[in-house]
Amino acid sequence: MTRLSHIAIIAKKEFRQYLRDRRLYLAGGLIFFLFSSASFMGRHVSQQASATERAFSSDERERWLNQADGMPHSAAHHGVYLIRPQPASQAMEPGVSLWTGAVVFLEAHNRNLFRFPPARDLGQSRRLGELSLAALLEAGVCLLVVLLAYDAIAAERESGTLRLMMAQSVSPGSIAAGKFMGTLGALAVALAPALACATAVFWGAVPWNTTVLLAATYGAYLLQVLAIVLTISSLARTSKVALFGGLTFWLWNCTVVPQAAITIVSLQWPTPNPLELQAAIIEEQSIHPTLWDRREAINRRYLDKYGVSSLLDLPVNPDGILLLEQEAYDTRATGRSVKRLYDIHRQQDRSYRWAALAAPSVGTQSLSRAIAGTDLNQFHEFADAAEEYRQRMVRLMNETTAYDSSIRTGTIHSRAEVMNVKAGKDLWGRLPRFQYLPGDLRARLTENCWMIAASILWSVASGAVLAVAVQRVQRFAA
């Protein structure tokens, strides 16, 4: 008999054995339930989020354009809320999108952080009850592979059939390949209804190229996990040790490495907590003289420069100049703090990716988030675009206050040494609508080329390790 026919016979026998085993149907049922729940929930949440985003953005624009006449700087203080649009693929792979704030308030003086992470409103808990299609493929299917295949080779050794097979000149490589193919077939049977249900739920809702790439990423991951579990099974002396090894691998892959890696990088590059951030802003603002002293100095400077005694006789509004100066200080203070925060997040993200060498799930997760457009980079790109828009809005309001004489009322404020100004719809309309185009799929993949390389490396390495490990089966067979 040829090597190929050996593999085919073992694969067929393994596949039939799985089909006879009620475990497969039990696991398939559980996976179907989980996949269908995750798909429906993901689709529901995603649809709700995009409907809300459309309605809120349009209402907010209307509110800005139709606000009452008043001081431009007050308008900048009342500000604009921006809501972050979510890609359709969020329904499959929510990524970090549920944990970043959904809304940012753009106002004068402050670069605010995003608020209201949807996870909070959904009552989501990081530890218990994370149910998304991507999370299930990463952790749930990995556990399924461990529970189905842990004894694939170890049980043959325990029962003595391994020795028998070898006595019939079946090579260890053929045994491993046959077991691999047979288990893969059984997994396909267990996963088919669940994947069919998920496909039906997301049909037409998620771009096909995203779906195909996600399927390829998780397909490769499944093969890697299966190869690793079979390696453990071939090295373990008993089924019990194989199960223990399999569960330890699952823990290592899905919990220990990701969580330890993110904790280590967050200790190495600590994120300033909200209190530190606020303290840093106050400390930076304290470098400059107080508002009172600066107002006096600017008023005096302009009165002296133009040789007049009343603010009303000045061609420029010193209060506008003060606001521009103040905004520059505040943007520097808050902007620098927030930029530092986001830079640290980026650094943490970059360093975290090195953990892809320690566990296949890390690279798969990173790649999956990038394909779906729900990774940290996408969030930062949007946050930077929002900050650019905020600066534009505040600059427009403050420059109008400083240099546009048509909005001056010709009176001085009763409680402060400033000119009264009043603007209206003309000014509000000069601020264009916020527009944002997310990076395309090709760019996202280019950014994650190292994660693609890590996934390929794991596929090759897990296959090679299995090939080496099965050669040792002979040694343990007796």
């Binding site: 944990w99 209201f116 199960l243 223990f244 907590n273 909200p274 106050i282 400390e283």
Partner: protein, 481 residues
């Protein structure tokens, strides 16, 4: 009894030889102490940053006070504030206030990642709503929020439970599969004795696991242990860890007694683990969200934006209503600025009332969701354990308490600023030292205990239920058949 002891010793030796004690124990101990160490660092940083912010705000206040002193010395004394500046109470309120900072959770290092989404500080001003004044929200990397930090709660819920399952899933089936059970049935030794011995030997290992987690918890608590209720909280926490560990042992015993092969038991226990840790909590949260839907936050923001329109624009009626609510200001003779301030305060108070209704509607739904999940959490021992661990660590309900205390502090600020604002008084430099400060008060353990004990009892009921059922199956002598 001597047979039991012999089997017990034999089992222990076997487990020791096969590495079933040392390896998982090392894993649990290393992960526990690592998580505890990181928890300690995190809590220490929280404390340091709270001190840093308090110092920065104090320095800011002192700078304004020094300008006030200079003005007072060069141009004072003043009967009225000389324009918007450091002698004007309105300016001081806006530029020299203090943030309301919540102190670190008593035993926060035990579950340091659980409160990362909570508000860390409020910027409270008199005459405003706490919901619209600034609040310091999380700065944690969203990636870290998604993945979850490596803390002791994770060790207990995930690593401890899987370690217990790893050592005990074949507690009965191994004997059945090796043929020892058939042999035993032909001797005078009751199979139940063997099973008892095996359960007891695994129980001893579970105690060792839990002891290492508890030691890590003790180390993580640090000086906080000697704070108010520290020891009692740690005792409750440790008891929960122990019960949770035994829950998985009893589950393994029960499934081992009723199911066939080791692989089938492993699959069933894996299913139970998934159900307890992922499926039930998720389904409960989804059901709660469907039963008590919360309007999206954007709808909440929209309501805040449109809210002032709901407050009628009649200022004199507002003033009258305000004076009825605050009769201490009824006899005050008001100048134009004082009148404007009073009108502003009346408007803000009324607006805050409207806003509270909107927020209450929103948070009321969230509370109902939480209550729903809590009511049904007995379905998942992992959820029960998580709630108990958080209760013991002092995390549960902390955000709500913090907000309520911040509201009370706002009233103290109003009592301080309003007479100055309405009476158009100067904010003299010496008043800077009298600005009220905030101090967070922890929830006393006697208030926590009743609900925590209920949760502990619920976990104990699961442990007892599985143990009793497994015992009954064993009594019928069908374990090895």
């Amino acid at each position: 009894m001597s047979r039991l002891w012999t089997i017990l010793r034999h089992e222990w030796r076997l487990m020791y030889r096969d590495g079933h004690i040392v390896l998982p124990l090392v894993i649990v101990a290393i992960t526990s102490f690592t998580a505890a160490h990181w928890g300690r660092i995190s809590v220490e940083r929280q404390r340091e940053s709270a001190q840093r912010l308090a110092a920065a705000e104090r320095n800011r206040m002192l700078r304004e006070q020094s300008v006030a002193f200079r003005l007072w010395k060069t141009n004072g004394p003043f009967a009225k504030a000389p324009a918007y500046g450091p002698l004007d109470p309105q300016y001081v309120r806006n530029f020299a206030g203090f943030s309301v900072i919540g102190s670190p959770t008593p035993l926060g290092a035990l579950a340091e990642a659980s409160d990362e989404l909570d508000v860390a500080a409020y910027k409270v001003v008199p005459s405003g709503s706490i919901h619209t004044s600034g609040a310091a929200h999380t700065t944690v990397n969203p990636l870290q929020l998604l993945i979850g930090s490596f803390d002791l709660e994770l060790v207990v819920i995930v690593i401890l439970s899987l370690s217990v399952l790893g050592i005990s899933y074949s507690i009965v089936s191994a004997e059945r599969e090796s043929g020892v059970a058939s042999l035993l049935l032909s001797t005078s030794t009751h199979p139940q004795v063997l099973v008892f011995a095996k359960v007891l030997s695994r129980g001893a290992v579970v105690v060792l696991f839990c002891a290492s987690v508890a030691a890590a918890g003790l180390w993580a608590s640090g000086d906080n242990l000697f704070g108010v209720d520290g020891v009692e909280r740690l005792v409750v926490w440790t008891a929960t860890v122990l019960l949770y560990g035994f829950f998985w042992l009893m589950a393994a015993w029960f499934f081992g007694s009723i199911a066939g092969s080791s692989s089938r038991i492993a699959l069933l226990l894996g299913g139970l683990w998934l159900a307890s840790v992922v499926v039930i909590p998720s389904v409960l949260r989804f059901a709660a969200a469907r039963l008590y839907p919360v309007a999206p936050r954007t709808a909440f923001l929209d309501a805040i934006r449109r809210g002032p329109d709901k407050v009628p624009a009649n200022d004199s009626a507002k003033q009258e209503a305000f004076l009825q609510r605050h009769p201490e200001f009824a006899g005050l003779s008001l100048g134009p600025s004082g009148t404007a301030q009073l009108t502003g305060a009346a408007r803000s108070e009324e607006w805050a009332g409207v806003l509270d209704q909107i927020v209450d509607k929103y948070e009321g739904q969230q509370q109902r969701q939480r209550k729903f999940v809590a009511r049904w959490s007995w379905l998942s021992p992992s959820l029960l354990a998580q709630r108990t661990l958080r209760d013991a660590a002092g995390i549960t309900g902390r955000e709500e308490r913090f907000r309520n205390q911040a509201r009370t502090y706002q009233q103290a600020l109003e009592a301080f600023y309003w007479p100055l604002l309405f009476g158009e008084r100067v904010f003299t430099p010496d008043l800077y030292g009298l600005i009220p400060r905030f101090q967070y008060r922890e929830e006393p353990l006697r208030e926590v205990m009743p609900r925590t004990l209920l949760l502990v009892l619920a976990i104990a009921a699961w442990v007892g239920g599985f143990g009793f059922a497994a015992f009954l199956v064993g009594l019928r002598n069908r374990v090895f058949v």
